[in-house]
Symmetry: C2
Subunit: 359 residues, 2 copies
């Protein structure tokens, strides 16, 4: 088991990475406020892992409330969030109850937001069960639900007390979701860690084959990159926004098609290629650089073209993005491979050209 500490002053917390962690309640006990916990999962992960996980906690004398949500980004809404509140209030969970998210990014985001807002804040532990959530949402404390007019529009910054990234549970992850997770892994290489990108270019096949050692290495290096960024900029006033490489284009795809058509990582992959293409138009990347960005995503089995929504629809959806500040669209682009910047330099015409070239 490896441990990585996310340094956020009094909100600092450890991420433990290894195989078989969810079978060891002893890892969780020191982080509880009282002996009451509520485990939130979904109807795909629940049947696989909920019963043994809860039994392990109960064997240590904990009182456990179980809450099972419908699976999928399409349910990342208020109605589903309210199922968590109904479960907590129905079982009289109080302010000292610790919420544990057992699932992927959607379960983590919703449970985190529920923890941030239930009785104005209760303790929170994350047990991410997808590669995407292990390398992305397990670090940084972003929680949210979607609104019909935009993704992640309602949420909070709220840090967990502990993250358990169990590599073992990735064994049951569908191939498509494993690949979607790799999109965020690749992203860290592109925005700030060229040696990691080179490591990925050597080891991408081992990751696709779910080699445990390679997965532990990829999760740890991803989390370390994200933790460094978040520690420097917890509430996304500056550098943290570079973690959104590909996300503004990607969110347009997800919103334009309706949540759940493309996986988040798939949309981010296509978005990263679009951002690379746009960076080339600004003179920052070469044709070879763009091909390199495209290639690593292709080798990971990810889409490298966006959904055919039409350029105008993309631009309209992107205008709703949270990175719009005072009316100006800011995009995460690449100054070079391994170095992202936040820029408002691209013209509407250049953005339109990149969308058309990459769809």
């Amino acid at each position: 088991m490896r441990t990585l500490n996310v340094e956020l002053d009094e909100r600092s917390y450890p991420i433990r990475i290894g195989a078989g962690l969810i079978a060891d309640p002893g890892l969780i006990l020191p982080y509880l406020k009282t002996r009451r916990v509520a485990v939130v999962t979904n109807d795909v992960v629940g049947p696989l892992y909920l019963a043994p996980f809860v039994a392990g906690l109960q064997a240590h004398g904990l009182r456990v409330t179980e809450i099972v949500l419908p699976d999928g980004e399409a349910h990342k809404d208020w109605a589903t969030l309210n199922l968590i509140f109904d479960g907590l209030l129905g079982d009289r969970c109080d302010r000292s109850t610790t919420l544990i998210a057992l699932g992927g990014g959607v379960v983590g985001d919703m449970t985190g937001f529920a923890a941030a807002t239930y009785q104005r804040g209760v303790p929170f532990i994350q047990v991410p069960t997808t590669l995407l959530s292990q390398v992305d949402s397990s670090v940084g404390g972003k929680t949210a639900i979607n609104h019909p007019l935009g993704k992640n529009m309602i949420g909070a910054f709220y840090q967990p007390r502990l993250v358990l990234a169990d590599i073992g549970v990735l064994g049951t992850l569908p191939d498509r979701e494993l690949k979607a997770g790799l999109a965020e892994v690749i992203k860290y290489g592109l925005i700030r860690d060229l040696p990691f990108l080179e490591w990925l270019e050597t080891n991408i096949e081992r990751l696709l084959a779910r080699d445990p050692d390679a997965l532990v290495e990829a999760v740890e290096r991803s989390c370390r990159n994200k933790a460094e960024v978040v520690a420097a900029d917890e509430t996304e006033q500056g550098e943290r926004a570079t973690l959104n490489l590909g996300h503004t284009f990607g969110h347009a795809i997800e919103t334009g098609l309706g949540y759940g058509e493309w996986l988040h990582g798939e949309a981010v992959a296509a978005g990263a290629v679009m951002a690379a293409d746009l960076s080339r138009r600004l003179g920052w990347l070469s044709d070879a650089d763009v091909a390199r960005v495209r290639s690593i995503h292709e080798r990971a089995g990810l889409p490298v073209k966006g959904a055919a929504l039409g350029a105008e629809r993309y631009l309209e959806l992107m205008a709703h993005d949270k990175k719009v500040s005072d009316g100006t669209l800011r995009l995460v682009l690449l100054k070079q491979i391994g170095q992202a910047v936040i820029s408002a330099e691209a013209s509407q015409d250049q953005i339109r050209a990149s969308i058309e070239a990459c769809c």
Copy 2:
């Protein structure tokens, strides 16, 4: 105009208290992040004050989004909160838009919660238009909505950048609401400020007659008391809970009757008398003390008996209270007049006896 600073490190903010403040946009301009604001009000306050307030802001070049909610505690729910998000997203308000709450406690609580969670947090200014919201919710950053199973169950701690407490707008406040506000004013005297209670016992008639000087004095001394408590305990780990004198009983009344039957302050008044009666049963207050608590509320035109829900229903509703920690009900009681404590010492039988004696 008087100014009181709420000291919360980098979240510190001023409260300005005086007559005619909402007619002076110059008080607001220094606290905006950009020239975009969204003013949230309700359909009672809006017709009286929204148009001139917005016109004043527009005259200074601000772009203003107007959002009008249905009035009343019964609408302090997700559906109404969502009207704020709909309005913000529909008008493409971004992360730097400042939300301004123009209204009473419900508008303030909901706008504050919307500000805490819209795009994970946007700046927030409060312009409380009721006595209750000027002396209570304008200090401390508690925001929330109700859930069918409990009041204020979903919310956040989120501080405004500025509060404008305009005594002038209290001129249009219905008598019943003025009196309800006095319940929270009296509370500060009871829990920690005996000289202020004595001042109230001398000046209660001036307050009921809306004497502006008396109102400024009462608002300032109330806010100062609350600010001191909140500065010492922002997230209610300890002393801050004493501000909830009467609230656990009061919430049971509000929930038991359905939100909106009794005004919050009315329920708190009856709850404070119940808490005083229970403090007497624990040997802390004399009969004369309890009579004094009852008398000041009676003189303010407030109820001093709880709603007849039956003691068992009270106990059931109180068990849902946020002050329940790990299964133990903690109540705010009075060690003496002017000194509150948080206590789990009262037995179920004693609580039941106080409910029965005071309904």
